[in-house]
C-alpha cells in the first residue's frame, strides 16, 4: 500500500474502533459515578462502588440472573451435542437423504428475525399443549428448547467449518487399521475439533444469556430472564445499576475471550512444534 491509502485505512480503522468502543467505555466509566443522573459526572463523590453494592442487593436482578444461568448452561450443552452431530454430518457425509434440508435448516436460524422465531415457537408450544398436554405452561423448559433451536445452528456452522479445514487422512488411516467409526470419532475427530466445540459452547451460552425477544415470547410467569428485567428497566430510562451490570458483563467476557484465544494460540504453537 502506498502512503496515502494506508493513511486513509488507518484513519478508518481508528474511527471505526472508536465507534465500537466509546459506548462500552462510557458504561464502564459511569458505573463508578455517584450521581443518580448517570451521565452527569459527580466529581465530589466519585469514583464510588455504591451501585455495585446496590446491584448485589437487588433481588429481582439476582433471581433473573439465576434463571438466565440455568437456561444458558442447559442450552449450551444441548446445542453443542445437536450442533456437533449436524456439523459432522454435513462435513463428512457428502450424500444423504435430507442433506439439502438439514443445510437449509441450520443456515436459516442465523438470519431469521427473532420476532418470527419467537412467535412461531410460542404458537407451537401452545398447540402442543392443547394436543398432548406437553409442555404444561411455559417457563424454563420452553425457553431452553427455543434457545437450543437457534444456538445449535451457530454450533453447526462452527463445527462444520472447522471440519472442512482439516483433511480426512487421519480418520481414514484409523479406519483402515480397523477402528470402529465411533472410536475414530471419539479418539481422532473429537480432539481435533475440540477448539470449535469449546467456541460453540461459549457462543451458545452467550446467545442464550443475551436473548431478549425469543425469551419474551416463550417464557411464562415467574421465569423472567436477566435481559427481560433489564429491558423493562431500560424502557423507563437509564439506571446506574445497569451500568454496573454492563461493566461486570464486559469484564467477564473480555477475560473469557482473551483467555481462550491465548490458550488456542498456545495450542496451535505446540502443534506446530510437535505435529
Amino acid at each position: 500500500m502506498n502512503y496515502r491509502s494506508s493513511f486513509f485505512i488507518l484513519t478508518c480503522l481508528g474511527l471505526g474502533f472508536a465507534f465500537l468502543y466509546i459506548p462500552i467505555l462510557s458504561m464502564v466509566v459511569f458505573s463508578f459515578n455517584a450521581s443518580k443522573l448517570v451521565t452527569v459526572w459527580d466529581g465530589a463523590h466519585s469514583p464510588t462502588l455504591k451501585w455495585y453494592v446496590a446491584l448485589l442487593q437487588n433481588e429481582e436482578i439476582l433471581d433473573a440472573a439465576w434463571i438466565s444461568v440455568k437456561v444458558a448452561l442447559i442450552n449450551a450443552t444441548g446445542s453443542v451435542i445437536l450442533g456437533t452431530l449436524a456439523g459432522f454430518g454435513l462435513a463428512r457425509f457428502s450424500q444423504f437423504r435430507g442433506r439439502f434440508t438439514l443445510n437449509a435448516m441450520t443456515t436459516a436460524p442465523l438470519v431469521m428475525p427473532e420476532v418470527i422465531t419467537g412467535l412461531s415457537l410460542l404458537l407451537l408450544f401452545v398447540a402442543l399443549e392443547q394436543l398432548i398436554g406437553w409442555p404444561a405452561g411455559r417457563g424454563i423448559t420452553t425457553m431452553t428448547i427455543a434457545h437450543m433451536t437457534f444456538s445449535m445452528a451457530y454450533v453447526t456452522v462452527i463445527v462444520n467449518s472447522r471440519l472442512a479445514t482439516f483433511d480426512t487422512a487421519l480418520e481414514e488411516a484409523a479406519m483402515d487399521l480397523g477402528a470402529h467409526p465411533l472410536k475414530v470419532f471419539f479418539v481422532i475427530t473429537l480432539p481435533i475439533i475440540f477448539p470449535a466445540i469449546l467456541s460453540g459452547w461459549l457462543l451458545a451460552f452467550t446467545l442464550s444469556w443475551d436473548d431478549l425477544v425469543i425469551s419474551s415470547f416463550t417464557s411464562g410467569p415467574g421465569s423472567s430472564t436477566l435481559p427481560m428485567v433489564v429491558f423493562s428497566k431500560v424502557r423507563l430510562g437509564v439506571s446506574p445499576e445497569i451500568n454496573v451490570l454492563a461493566t461486570i458483563t464486559i469484564g467477564v467476557v473480555t477475560a473469557m475471550i482473551v483467555g481462550v484465544s491465548l490458550w488456542m494460540a498456545r495450542k496451535a504453537r505446540l502443534e506446530r512444534v510437535a505435529p
Binding site: 485505512i9 435430507g98 435448516m105 436459516a108 428475525p113 418470527i116 465411533l182 431500560v234 424502557r235 437509564v238
Partner: protein, 304 residues
C-alpha cells in the same frame, strides 16, 4: 455388530443416526412452527385462551368444516399502518446496510492487510463487542445520545453548541444503533473473503500504471463481491425484523415491522394478525435468505 446389521436391514445406518437427532429437532422446532403460524394466520380472533378460533370445526355429527379466512391479510392491506411499517423497515434496513458497508469495508480491508500479529488483535477487537450483550450495548447509546447525555455535555462544554441537540428517539439514533450492533456481522465475512485475496494483483495493476483507487475499483471490489453480499445479507435480513433497537432508541414514531408484530402480539393479543404479519415478513425475506445461502455455498466451494 449384530444390532448394526439388524438396523441396516430396516434402513437405519450409523450415518442416519448421526444426523437424525438434529434433523428431527429442527423439523419439530423450526419447520413445524411455521406451518402452525400459517394456520393461525387464517383463523379468527377469539376472546379465549389461546385467542384464536380453530380452523377445523365439527359441523353436525360427521362433517368437518374448514374455515379459512383471509380477513387478517385483508386487514393488513387496508390499514395503511402495516404497509408503511413494511416499507419503512425495508428502507431502514437498506440504508443501515449501506452505512455498515461504508464504515465496515475500510475496516475489514485494513485488518486483512495488517501484519499477522496485529491482525489477530484487531479481529479480537471486532469480535469482543459481539460477545457482550446487544441489549446493554444499545442501552449505552441512550446514555450517550440523550439531552443531558455524554455527547451533548461534551459538545456544550467545548462551546460548539449552546442548546442540547435532540438525538435520542429520532431516526438518527435508530440508524446509529443498528449500524453499531450489526457492524461485526459485516466485517467478519468480508474480512474472511479479503484475507484470501492475492495482493500481488494490486501490485501488478499499479506497475501497469493503475492509480490505487482504479486498482481498488477494478480488482479488489469485484473480487470481494461474495464477501460484500454475505456480510450485507447478515445485516439486512435481521435488521428488517429488528425489535430491540427501534424500541429503545427510535422513539414512539419509529414504525418498524418487528415492533408492530410485537405490539400486536403482546399489547393487542391479536395472535392471528401477528401471525399474518410474520408470514408476510417471511415471504419478503425468504428470497434474500436463499440468496445468502447460495453466496455462502459459493464462498465455501471457492475456499476448498
Amino acid at each position: 455388530m449384530r444390532t448394526a446389521q439388524q438396523l441396516q436391514r430396516i434402513g437405519i445406518s450409523g450415518r442416519g443416526l448421526v444426523v437424525a437427532l438434529p434433523y428431527l429437532w429442527l423439523m419439530l422446532f423450526f419447520v413445524v412452527p411455521f406451518i402452525i403460524v400459517l394456520k393461525i394466520s387464517f383463523s379468527d380472533i377469539d376472546l379465549a385462551i389461546p385467542p384464536y378460533k380453530p380452523l377445523l370445526e365439527w359441523v353436525g355429527k360427521n362433517s368437518l368444516a374448514i374455515k379459512v379466512n383471509f380477513n387478517n391479510y385483508a386487514f393488513l392491506f387496508t390499514d395503511s399502518l402495516y404497509l408503511r411499517a413494511f416499507g419503512n423497515s425495508i428502507k431502514v434496513a437498506f440504508i443501515s446496510t449501506l452505512l455498515c458497508l461504508v464504515v465496515g469495508y475500510p475496516m475489514a480491508y485494513g485488518i486483512a492487510r495488517a501484519k499477522a500479529a496485529t491482525r489477530n488483535v484487531l479481529l479480537l477487537l471486532v469480535i469482543l463487542p459481539f460477545w457482550t450483550s446487544l441489549l446493554l450495548r444499545v442501552y449505552a447509546w441512550i446514555g450517550l445520545l440523550k439531552a443531558n447525555g455524554v455527547i451533548n455535555n461534551v459538545l456544550m462544554s467545548l462551546g460548539i453548541i449552546h442548546e442540547p441537540l435532540t438525538m435520542l428517539y429520532t431516526p438518527f439514533a435508530m440508524y446509529v444503533g443498528i449500524v453499531y450492533s450489526y457492524l461485526p456481522f459485516l466485517i467478519l465475512p468480508l474480512y474472511a473473503n479479503l484475507e484470501k485475496m492475492d495482493w500481488q494483483l494490486l501490485e501488478a495493476a499499479e506497475d501497469l500504471g493503475c492509480r490505487p483507487w482504479q486498482a481498488f475499483y477494478k480488482i479488489t471490489l469485484p473480487l470481494s463481491r461474495n464477501g460484500i453480499l454475505a456480510g450485507s445479507m447478515l445485516v439486512f435480513i435481521p435488521a428488517v425484523g429488528e425489535f430491540v433497537i427501534p424500541a429503545l432508541l427510535g422513539g414512539p414514531n419509529a414504525l418498524m415491522i418487528g415492533r408492530v408484530l410485537w405490539d400486536e402480539f403482546f399489547s393487542n393479543r391479536a395472535w392471528p394478525v401477528a401471525s399474518a404479519v410474520a408470514i408476510l415478513l417471511l415471504i419478503l425475506l425468504v428470497p434474500f435468505m436463499m440468496w445468502y445461502q447460495s453466496v455462502q455455498a459459493r464462498e465455501t466451494a471457492g475456499a476448498r
